[in-house]
């Protein structure tokens, strides 16, 4: 019995569409029971992404689900035709990641989720007028001027519940009760890794609840993409997670190429993967430096940046850019690598193992560091899957979630490397995964250098793609392994030269959702070390 037949037996009213993944169309009133059986009977335990879409005649969500055992994927489409009071059933009780992702959909589309425990806006100000990603959004600047007063009612939340007869009741409540002692971190705080704001309720020194407040760097990228052509949208990816700009861009390129059915030259594929891995090293080195600095070890930060500068030089020689490379383009890469590229990468790979040893000597064995990280911020395997906390954070809890292994893209299936997995799930394990992954990236880069040298004979020819790129009508989803976890791109096209809807599924947002789970029960001082070990990048969360 294939998947379609199994789902049809569970939910007879569902309709199916063939595509890249099986698409299940289901009515809202049957969605929750189907979701429950998808999770419990068919083993779809990982909700990859919830994407809100405005299809004009209806508003709804696309859910992408993965079975972590078999790597089977399925997508579900749930929609409502009510534009005045759109409501869908929440699945946040089944997959915890929906807690934050459904809030994002509410913020952008105004869809209220029945049964979701916390319906507040996520990115926009609480007094924002309208839902920006709806097609009928009124962009009149007079409705939403730059407001310089503080936000009021930021504690106000509501929950919509449904009883057996289908009667809906809306209950208002405050996210912090009157007896809670609330400590505010951020958005301007040196140790919050950017402009993150964490409000935590404490009992003495112990954290009882952490409420992350996002949106301080929400730049409306998804909305902007809808007005841009496909090559123009590429430029935003470099500015989302600027520590994995190459991987993000690679993902969007792959998604567009998949839609166009474009073949990428082998040489370009090797170069792309090389840049991805270099970027990953850069990101992990920075994570090491910043984590140490957050604990007061400023020296480690300087040591980490020493190698990062060398890496920046390699980037700059080929692409001309240090932070935003803009190197991957649709169909390949912008130009061939610099003649010194292989030599430089080999040199870098040769020195890095000794440098990593130096990092370990400086920080890893330190008693203060160990005491503050070992056994702190523990999160279990089931929880990381439920929260969708992929990347190094997921692998530190024993979840084998590397997209490079799980669903190999580009040339990763030809390469020999190990997936780094720790089972402790604490801050120290998360730190160690990153350090070990640097070594794995070195191993990958050495193989890639050999491959590129073999390709040396055939000169790189810039990809021949049409000037105006039009995607056929349809929708596509692509994932890659960015420095911080699985980064996904969802494109919906109506056949025009602009995307109808483009959604970026960032790993950081899921990490932030898990902060509460990681921190509850630990001391307030651990909040800094735990968020440093989760290593999120804020523009990646807020987009």
């Amino acid at each position: 019995m294939n998947l379609q037949e199994k789902i049809a037996s569970l939910c007879p009213s569902a309709t199916f569409e063939e595509g890249e993944y099986l698409l299940v169309n289901v009515a809202d009133k049957e969605w929750h029971s189907l979701a429950e059986s998808l999770k419990k009977e068919l083993g779809f335990d990982y909700l990859v992404s919830v994407t809100g879409v405005d299809w004009n005649e209806s508003l709804g969500c696309m859910y992408y689900l993965t079975n972590t055992e078999t790597n089977e994927k399925v997508s579900v489409k749930v929609a409502t035709t009510d534009r005045e009071n759109p409501m869908l059933h929440s699945v946040s009780d089944l997959w915890k990641v929906a807690l934050i992702q459904e809030r994002e959909v509410y913020d952008f589309f105004g869809i209220v989720f029945i049964g979701h425990p916390d319906m507040r806006r996520l990115f926009m100000r609480t007094d924002w007028v309208g839902y920006p990603l709806r097609k009928d959004y009124d962009a009149n600047p007079e409705l939403n001027p730059i407001r310089l007063d503080a936000e009021e009612n930021e504690d106000d939340s509501f929950v919509v519940t449904e009883d057996e007869n289908g009667k809906l009741t809306k209950t208002d409540y405050k996210i912090f009760s009157e007896n809670d002692y609330v400590v505010n971190f951020g958005p301007q705080h040196p140790s919050t890794h950017g402009v993150m704001r964490l409000r935590s309720a404490v009992d003495g020194e112990t954290i009882t609840k952490v409420v992350p407040v996002c949106g301080y760097i929400h730049r409306g990228i998804e909305k902007l993409c809808e007005g841009k052509t496909y090559p123009q949208t590429l430029f935003f990816t470099d500015r989302m997670d600027y520590m994995s700009s190459c991987q993000n861009r690679h993902c969007l390129c792959l998604c567009i190429e998949k839609a166009l059915g474009l073949e990428v030259p082998r040489r370009a594929q090797i170069i792309r993967v090389m840049f991805d891995e270099l970027m990953r090293i850069g990101s992990h080195i920075l994570a090491y430096g910043c984590m140490a600095m957050d604990m007061g070890a400023t020296t480690a930060f300087v040591y980490g940046f020493r190698e990062r500068e060398q890496l920046m030089d390699i980037f700059e020689k080929t692409t001309g850019g240090r932070m935003s490379q803009h190197y991957h383009v649709i169909g390949g890469v912008a130009a061939d690598v610099h003649p010194d590229f292989i030599k430089d990468v080999r040199e870098f790979c040769a020195i890095l193992p000794s440098k990593v040893k130096e990092y370990h000597t400086l920080v890893t064995g330190n008693v203060i560091f160990k005491n503050r990280t070992i056994g702190v911020g523990v999160i279990g395997k089931e929880d990381v899957i439920s929260y969708g906390t992929s990347g190094p954070n997921g692998r530190a809890s024993g979840w084998s979630c590397d997209v490079r292994k799980r669903a190999p893209y580009a040339i990763y299936n030809e390469l020999n490397f190990d997936e780094v997995i720790y089972n402790e799930g604490d801050s120290f394990a998360r730190y160690m995964v990153r350090m070990d992954e640097v070594m794995q990236s070195v191993k990958l880069l050495e193989q890639l250098c050999d491959m590129l040298e073999k390709e040396e004979g055939n000169e790189y020819i810039a990809p021949k793609v049409p000037k105006i790129i039009k995607l056929p009508a349809g929708h596509w989803f692509q994932e890659v392994e960015a420095s911080r976890g699985a980064f996904g791109v969802y494109i919906e096209s109506d056949g025009g030269k602009n995307p109808y809807r483009m959604h970026f599924n960032s790993p950081g947002l899921n990490h932030v959702a898990a902060v509460d789970k990681c921190c509850a029960g630990y001391k307030i001082a651990d909040l800094i070390t735990i968020s440093a070990s989760l290593d999120y990048v804020i523009p990646d969360i807020d987009r």
């Binding site: 100000r125 310089l148 958005p187 950017g194 760097i217 730049r219 409306g220 430029f235 930060f301 500068e309």
Partner: protein, 196 residues
């Protein structure tokens, strides 16, 4: 770029020398020079990093570059101890009130450097519904540093330009002081008459 093509903005310095030559008060002039020399070489930046530019700013203080040569190394996390607001990264509508509060908490004299194209015009996010399209909509800015993000050298150049500006402060007045003068004159029209 060749070394000879590089045009430094030395005209400000030259202008000051000219003005000094044509009879400024020796005592006041020297005192001013001393104060400005001290101010310009001990600028304590408040690092207000929101996105990519902040990482490049971190490079300024890390292994390759030496901020201490110019007196910038004491980056402060409290606005009350800072002289210079270094806005590294995009300012969104939600962030704007926070930025304004920090700016107001800083003690006079205070200076603002806007880093990156987001702060100049909105940059890549021009037309976004929630990005402040240029920092001048919120604050008076002393120096703009273009780039997306600017390289560390560009940031140094921008910060050195600010030092130049501070050195000449008596003659041209800081941006902030000019703002104050405008407010003062609006409140006291009789003084404005006197100035004419």
């Amino acid at each position: 770029m060749k070394r000879d093509d590089w045009k430094d903005n030395e005209y400000i310095d030259q202008l000051v020398e000219e003005l000094n030559a044509s009879g400024a008060n020796v005592v006041v002039g020297t005192l001013d020079k001393l104060i400005n020399w001290g101010r310009a070489n001990s600028l304590w930046p408040l690092c207000f990093g929101t996105s990519c530019c902040a990482i490049e700013f971190m490079h300024l203080g890390a292994a390759r570059h030496d901020m201490a040569r110019f007196g910038f190394e004491v980056t402060r996390n409290s606005p009350r101890q800072a002289d210079l607001l270094m806005v590294n990264g995009t300012i969104t509508y939600r962030m704007a009130p926070v930025l304004m509060r920090l700016y107001e908490q800083m003690a006079e004299p205070k200076y603002v450097i806007a880093t990156g194209s987001c702060n100049i015009s909105g940059g890549p996010f021009i037309g976004s519904h929630c990005v402040v399209q240029g920092l001048d909509k919120l604050l008076p800015v002393d120096v703009w540093i273009p780039g997306c993000p600017p390289r560390p050298e560009a940031m140094y150049y921008g910060m050195m330009q600010l030092q130049r500006k501070i050195m000449t402060q008596k003659y041209f007045g800081g941006v902030n002081r000019q703002e104050k003068l405008k407010d003062f004159l609006a409140e006291h029209p009789e003084e404005a008459e006197g100035l004419k």
